[in-house]
Amino acid sequence: MSIISSKNFKLLANPLNLENPVTVQILGICSALAVTTKLKPAIVMGLSVIVVTAFSNLAISAMRQYIPPRIRIIVQLVVVASMVILVDQLLRAFVYDVSKQLSVYVGLIITNCIIMGRLEAFAMGNKPWPSFMDGIGNGIGYSIILIVVAFIRELFGSGAILGFQVVPQSFYDAGYINNGMMIMPTMALVLVGVIIWIQRSFNKELIEKE
């Protein structure tokens, strides 16, 4: 089996669109609203979730034969929680300003439904490598939505991209003002809604039958 066979590639690519955790499975909305006022925390949050989903999928899948079914949820929680604590500690040590902005939401990755969902639905029944791919795919699917939402919110809410001012001063002099609504979590929900709408208008199979 090659490293990335067509089956494994599907595991990686499906969560980006047709099985996107945020817009199709509607998981992880809470953090998607909270950390998307600026692009940088959204990117770091996305990376953290990719790392946690990928490696907890890998770990659970590697020991799936040995996990007693009766305590499997506890085992999954322990694995996810320790991954998250590791990520949190690393962020605090090396990207302190971002970890301050993410504040409690890094800790809340533990309760992010995407991760437990993938462990239970995929990693418990599949080999480590496909599980790892599935984890990365779902992590990226989540990150893409976060990054798109954060891009729009930072551009219109603060007139900047990654902290660099992109709306020129002359615009402000001419009466342009940043949209304060964009900074509120409400707008993130509206944006996620718009993304779901756009996605469904391109993928008719996602629309529910009456």
């Binding site: 009766r70 322990v78 604590i85 500690q89 605090r92 040590a93 302190y96 900074i183």
Partner: protein, 235 residues
């Protein structure tokens, strides 16, 4: 599905917990120095910002060494306490103690024109979580030289505005004593402060609770220094 005996389940859990605990404590110990360094740099940057000196993560330590020339700890009568390093005093812990036992840190900044500024740390409760900051006074121990505020999770765009320049700047030049004897602190007024009011600044529209909390924080933290302020006025 395989059937696992109870003994297996117990052993599995114990082994798992021990491995995870070892891994996490090892990681925490290895990363602790980096994390402490970050917290120290942030504190130094804040203290520098309160005497209106901009610093970056890279030059904060050097600038702190250059501008903060002295620091000491007071008790609530304004007497210096020996044997305590001001920088290591955690205001969060001090506020948990009875008022008489609290240690009150003061940082003395020497500015480029050789005049001094006295920095007092502040801490209080905001709407959603703690708010904190530093305020510096001119040698008359009355006029505000600069201030910096920060928060953990105030509402973005509303209460969170306390950490922005437009909110902090009006504090400069305000005075905390009325007729040089009565301690009045600085009020944060909803609807805007009068232009010539020397003891008040504008509150944040939509951030009333955070504004009021900040006012309370200024009052409760600074009033503890009152004896020190009165004894140490420099002309």
């Amino acid at each position: 599905m395989k059937n696992f005996s109870n003994t297996y389940i117990f052993i599995f859990s114990i082994v798992m917990v021990v491995i995870v605990a070892l891994m996490l404590s090892l990681a925490a110990m290895q990363l602790k120095p980096f994390q402490d360094k970050n917290i120290e740099i942030e504190k130094k940057q804040n203290i520098l910002a309160s005497i209106r000196i901009k610093s970056t993560v890279k030059d904060a330590v050097d600038l702190y060494g250059k501008y903060i020339t002295d620091s000491y700890v007071l008790n609530n009568k304004g007497e210096r306490q020996e044997g305590v390093e001001a920088f290591t005093v955690e205001l969060k812990n001090e506020l948990g103690k009875p008022a008489l036992e609290r240690l009150l840190p003061v940082y003395v900044g020497t500015l480029d024109n050789q005049s001094k500024a006295y920095v007092m740390p502040l801490r209080g409760k905001g709407l959603w979580g703690p708010i904190w900051g530093y305020i510096s006074l001119q040698p008359d121990m009355n006029t505000v030289y600069g201030s910096v505020f920060d928060h953990q999770g105030e509402t973005p765009g509303l209460g969170a505005e306390i950490s922005t320049e437009w909110f902090q700047k009006p504090f400069i030049g305000k005075t905390i004593f009325k007729d040089s004897t009565e301690f009045v602190s600085i009020k944060v007024l909803k609807g805007g402060a009068k232009k010539d009011d020397p003891h008040a600044v504008d509150a944040i529209s939509g951030g009333t609770i955070t504004s009021k909390s900040l006012e309370a924080m200024l009052d409760s933290c600074l009033v503890q220094y009152k004896p020190y302020f009165i004894q140490n006025r420099h002309k």
